[in-house]
């Protein structure tokens, strides 16, 4: 909402208030100022000039040398290429040194040897368009005396004064609950309350209504659905003369950011800006018959809007129709079939109230967001249609745009009931934590045009946003001052705040992974479905079923990820491309697993993905085991996994818990996966089911006595097959040795010709210890014997012969 201060001054005088103070106070009372500007602030030293003579430049065919009276003692010489200048013309002159629109500097200089002491200005050089200055020509100098609507002027007058270009314009951010503030009068009410001033509101006066004619001779109006259209007001103007509106109106519209069109259309826009009531004007001659019907459209009904776009309407959309066709889409836009033309001689003014949600649905469905729909959808005051239409007629008379026909059509379901809220000053003070005197509360409410009577607050018709105690409290405190509230502490008892267990574990895991040298990343939760291809996920993998966004920004962000790894690999690839040295990244976040039933929300379990280059498989295994240790997970098995196409089939493992469920998968990326991300070195990746881990993590610890008795250590080197997993032998050793086995270390892996093809030797150091006595040699030997037997019986491996 752009508010020209000169317009505001017509209703409440703020001429004595510094613009910055004005803006600060308005922001403090709830009308947020986005900024303010001096209109045409970039134009300097441009004045009215009268051309005294025009002579051909001796050395240039296309230039003329003009002598110009600019109100100075001596006339100025100005050289121009413009062809529409003549002796006697009044023109805007940039008196060098000067500045024109866009801050362009104009200096004295010579053009083909002739001194030019300034420049004549076109509309563009004044920051205007032909809409603002309809009497001007497109590529020529603005000839002021062509515009009959300018006031008096003489050479030397500041052009900004003459063209009414010297206003302050304040830009407000109006929140959607306050459509009443999208108007000069609405802001006048706010200004008056904010500065404790009195505003004067204007009552339109119609002077010369032709009493022998009546609107009913021209028109009847029927409203079929009074819920969607609570009020429809119409008046008729005859003997219309379409012309540009006068300068003062054009420049007000220009300042407010609206393009002037012609007197009738400008009046509807002017009233909308002044009162906040969108209006519409039809060409009466284009109506079939004289009955206007406000009705719901038929399914599939055709409508061409003012901007010449064809629409197909749906049932339920509200239209203004004549006997045969829709002539306007209620509250959204008029129809091309009844547009005001230069030949229009009878105009119907419409000032109506439409239900906000209906206008909103229609404008969204047809993709037509207009100034009018934007206002209606916030909910407008049905009480203002009449004063607005009377103001429009008053302006039509003032502009000489036509003769107002007597009478008014005003169809409404009934008067809008006045809303009332209980006035509870004590409760309001308790709620706000303030001590505002009751009489001050009343005076604040009254300054905002509420009435307070007998313990009740009566709400003005334009304030549908005020319906309960909280609303009244807000009205009071915003004028009293939010910053006058004293800070206090609430009285609830002392307690500590807790994380959810899942959040607490994830925090711990994050810190652990960082301490292990991994860097946390953050990536979008939505990905491209192509991400699944990049990690070579099989086509029938259930994880390809994602939650799909119906209105995504693009394919790249169109589905909610079911796996985290691709995002982390993208980040790793990004760093690889920028030549980062050995790098380890991870992310812990939710993945989104769709429910079977599409009408239900997905589950959102936490997952962690880790990826690095510059280590090896066992580095990753070390990270995973450290994570498991930290979580207090002791019973798990590491099994090789060769069926996940993301990973190298011979270098991938999964961690299986005692309940046989997997909790992590890790390994070297399959070379084809690595290639998809542009890696030409081995990359290691892991995915941890963090949700699961959080649920089984155990941080209760019980002290176990530090061993008092010495350990006995025995070495075993088994001759086994080249593909034998060390883990399988360890498992047998642990089982066979029973609780005496304290630690098993694989200390040597040897392959060599001596052992024979397809063979290798795995050497383990086994540490045996009893918690309650020193092991005797005999006991240790017996345990060793058991281990040897078990390995031989279960796996078929014997000790390697030295």
């Amino acid at each position: 909402m752009n508010l020209p201060i000169s317009w505001l001054n017509e209703f409440v005088d703020v001429k004595d208030i510094d613009i910055k103070n004005y803006c600060d106070r308005m922001t403090d009372t709830g009308s947020k100022v986005e900024g303010w500007s001096v209109q045409a602030g970039d134009i300097e030293n441009v004045c009215v000039g009268k051309i005294i003579s025009v002579e051909q430049h001796p050395d240039a065919d296309r230039l003329v040398i003009c002598s110009v009276d600019v109100g100075e003692e001596k006339s100025r010489q100005i050289v121009t290429a413009a062809t529409n200048v003549y002796a006697g013309a009044y023109v805007p002159v940039a008196k060098a040194p000067a500045k024109v629109a866009g801050g362009v500097s104009i200096k004295s200089g010579k053009l083909r040897g002739a001194v030019s002491d300034g420049m004549f200005c076109s509309v563009a050089e004044l920051g205007l368009t032909l809409h603002d200055m309809p009497y001007a020509v497109e590529d020529g100098i603005l000839i002021l005396n062509d515009d009959p609507t300018l006031g008096d002027y003489k050479p030397g007058d500041d052009i900004k004064e003459i063209l009414k270009l010297s206003d302050n314009i304040v830009e407000f951010e109006i929140t959607p609950n306050r459509p009443d503030c999208l108007s000069v009068i609405g802001m006048a009410r706010e200004t008056a309350a904010s500065f404790e001033r009195t505003a004067k509101y204007h009552t339109p006066v119609l002077r010369a209504e032709d009493k022998n004619d009546n609107v009913r001779k021209y028109l009847s109006v029927t409203v079929k659905n009074s819920t969607l259209c609570p009020r429809y007001t119409a008046k008729v103007i005859k003997n219309v003369k379409i012309a540009p509106s006068p300068l003062w109106m054009r420049m007000r519209l220009h300042a407010a950011g609206v393009r002037p069109i012609n007197n009738i259309v400008d009046i509807t826009n002017y009233v909308m800006l002044e009162y906040g009531q969108p209006m519409h004007a039809f060409d009466y001659a284009c109506l079939d018959g004289n009955a206007i019907v406000v009705r719901e459209a038929d399914e599939g009904e055709k409508f061409r809007s003012l901007d010449d776009i064809d629409h197909t309407l749906s049932a339920g959309m509200l239209v203004i129709a004549d006997e045969k066709k829709p002539v306007a889409l209620a509250g959204v836009m008029g129809g091309a079939n009844s547009e005001i033309k230069d030949t229009t001689s009878i105009v119907v003014f419409e000032s109506a109230n439409f239900m906000g949600s209906s206008v909103r649905i229609t404008s969204r469905a047809l993709g037509m967001r207009t100034e009018s729909s934007g206002r209606f959808e916030k909910g407008l005051d049905s009480e203002m249609t009449r004063i607005a239409i009377e103001r429009a007629c008053e302006l039509a008379e003032l502009l000489g745009a036509g003769d107002v026909v007597d009478g008014i059509i005003d169809v409404r379901a009934g008067e809008k009931p006045e809303a009332a809220v209980k006035f509870e000053p004590d409760r309001i003070n308790r709620f706000l934590g303030t001590n505002i005197p009751e009489d001050r509360m009343v005076s604040i409410l009254e300054s905002l045009l509420f009435r307070v009577n007998d313990g009740t607050v009566y709400v003005p018709s334009w304030r549908d946003d005020v319906r309960c105690m909280n609303d009244i409290a807000e009205e009071i405190i915003r004028i009293w001052g939010y910053n006058e509230i004293n800070s206090t502490n609430f009285r609830s008892g002392v307690k500590t705040g807790e994380y959810t267990p899942r959040k607490a574990y994830s925090l711990r895991l994050n810190n652990l992974l960082c301490s292990l040298g991994c860097w946390e990343t953050c990536s979008f939760s939505f990905i491209s479905p192509k991400y699944y291809d990049k990690i070579r996920m099989p086509n029938n993998d259930p994880r390809r079923k994602s939650v799909v966004i119906r209105n995504p920004l693009g394919e790249d962000t169109s589905v909610m990820r079911t796996v985290l790894l691709p995002s982390v690999l993208e980040s790793l690839a990004h760093n690889n491309n920028s030549h980062a040295e050995d790098t380890a990244l991870y992310e812990t976040a939710s993945v989104y697993l769709p429910a079977e039933d599409k009408t239900l929300q997905p589950s959102e379990p936490l997952q962690t993905a880790i990826a690095f280059y510059g280590g090896d498989f066992y580095t990753m295994k070390g990270i995973i085991e450290t994570v498991l240790d930290d979580a207090g997970v002791l019973n798990y098995r590491t099994a090789s996994k060769s069926n996940d196409p993301t990973y190298h089939p011979g270098r991938c493992a999964e961690i299986i818990l005692s309940d046989k469920s997997p909790v992590a998968v890790f390994g070297e990326l399959h070379p084809l996966t690595a290639r998809n991300y542009g890696f030409d070195m081995p990359v290691y990746a892991a995915v941890i089911d963090t949700e699961k881990l959080a649920s089984i993590a155990c941080f209760d610890r019980t002290y176990k006595q530090i061993p008092r008795y010495p350990a006995v250590s025995r070495d075993f080197a088994f001759l086994c097959n080249a593909d034998t997993e060390a883990g399988s032998i360890e498992e047998v050793i642990r089982r066979a040795g029973g609780k005496l086995v304290e630690k098993i270390d694989l200390f040597d892996v040897f392959r060599g010709e001596k052992l024979g093809a397809g063979k290798k030797s795995l050497a383990f150091n086994v540490s045996l210890r009893s918690s309650d006595h020193t092991l005797t040699d005999d006991e240790a030997d017996k345990a060793a014997e058991k281990i040897l037997h078990a390995v031989e019986n279960e796996l078929g491996f014997k000790l390697r012969e030295m």
């Binding site: 409290a473 705040g497 994380y499 301490s515 979008f524 209105n551 920028s578 599409k598 959102e604």
Partner: protein, 340 residues
């Protein structure tokens, strides 16, 4: 015999004085005091002396033994001190050569800010609450006093999954979950998390970002309490001198509503690049919980009142670290991540 002893003494002390290594000292000890040493030899000859002479000679011999032993010990200490000194000198290293750094990673800057914020609120007794990101229309809008076709929905272009399921556009959706879970007041929670809006990516917009929501509901909660809470938070987060400023605003689910600025933590309010010369930085929206929201969650608005607030974690992180482009936060470039 006396002469002999004197001679041994003189020659022992002379030789000891000249000794320059511990090995040499050991040799001398053996030479004079060992089983076959010179002093031992003399003492062995004492049997030939008369009983009158023995005590005196014995005494002299012992004195000599003691002084030689003492000399050896002193000399030994001196030599080992010299040796240590020499060793230390030879072991001198260049301390300006590069360190062997431990490779540890860092939390993402957004996570660091989020953790700091949660830490402050936890210390004030707020529990950390969670809620779904793929949310129903009810929790994201309707229960927050924002019915269908409410114009306030425009300011948050929402991603939809179905007509009824969407990506939450605000962490305020957790308010209602929190009230339902608690059953009845007192309620004191904050909830950080991801939110989504259909904004194209640029330096100041992202379709995914993070917010932290706060909610307090109890008997007699006042707007002054809201101010006190946010003031305490702002001082802990941005420094003890931080001031806060409330400006009236509108949110459908709070009434009265406010936007809240803090005095710029860079310049203290004088105006700088971080606050764009304003002296103030807008960091959050807040207000008193709308009675419709309380009723919707089964809490009697005549018996209880409450306040809610929400802030953008990206915004705070970007201001705190002077990050000028939001895209850096999701690119995960190590040259960026290493700085935090």
């Amino acid at each position: 015999m006396k002469e002999k002893l004197k001679h041994i003494r003189t020659s022992a002390l002379e030789q000891l004085d000249a000794a320059d290594s511990t090995e040499k000292l050991e040799q001398l000890r053996v030479k004079f005091l060992g089983k076959k040493g010179e002093l031992t030899a003399v003492l062995r000859g004492m049997g030939a002396l008369s009983p009158d002479e023995r005590p005196a000679i014995g005494q002299i011999a012992n004195e000599i033994r003691e002084s030689v032993e003492k000399m050896i010990a002193e000399k030994k200490e001196k030599l080992s001190a010299e040796f240590l000194q020499h060793r230390l000198e030879s072991e001198k290293i260049d301390v300006t050569m590069p360190a062997k750094r431990f490779n540890i990673g860092h939390r993402h800057p957004l996570a660091q800010v989020e953790d700091e914020m949660c830490g402050i609120f936890r210390s004030m007794g707020f529990d950390i609450e969670e809620g779904p990101e793929v949310e129903t229309d009810y929790y994201n809008f309707q229960a927050l006093n924002t019915p269908e076709n409410h114009p306030a929905r425009d300011s948050q272009d929402t991603f939809y999954i179905t007509d009824n399921i969407l990506l939450r556009s605000q962490t305020s959706s957790v308010q209602v979950h929190a009230m339902e879970r608690a059953g009845k007041p007192p309620i004191r929670v904050v909830s950080p998390g991801r939110v989504y809006r259909s904004d194209a990516v640029d330096a100041t917009h992202s379709p995914m970002f993070h917010q932290l929501e706060g909610l307090v509901v109890d008997k007699d909660i006042t707007m002054g309490d809201l101010k006190g809470t946010l003031e305490t938070f702002a001082r802990r987060m941005f420094g003890n001198d931080t001031k806060i400023r409330f400006r009236p605003h509108h949110f459908p689910f709070t009434e009265p509503s406010a936007e809240i600025d803090i005095s710029c933590f860079m310049c203290g309010g004088k105006g700088c690049k971080v606050c764009k010369g304003e002296g103030w930085i807008e960091i959050l929206g807040a207000g008193m919980v709308h009675p419709n929201v309380l009723s919707c969650s089964g809490i009697d608005p005549d018996a209880y009142s409450g306040f809610a607030f929400g802030m953008g974690i990206e915004r705070i992180a970007m201001k705190k670290y002077s990050i000028d482009d939001m895209r850096l936060l999701y690119e995960n470039d190590l040259r960026f991540l290493r700085q935090f």
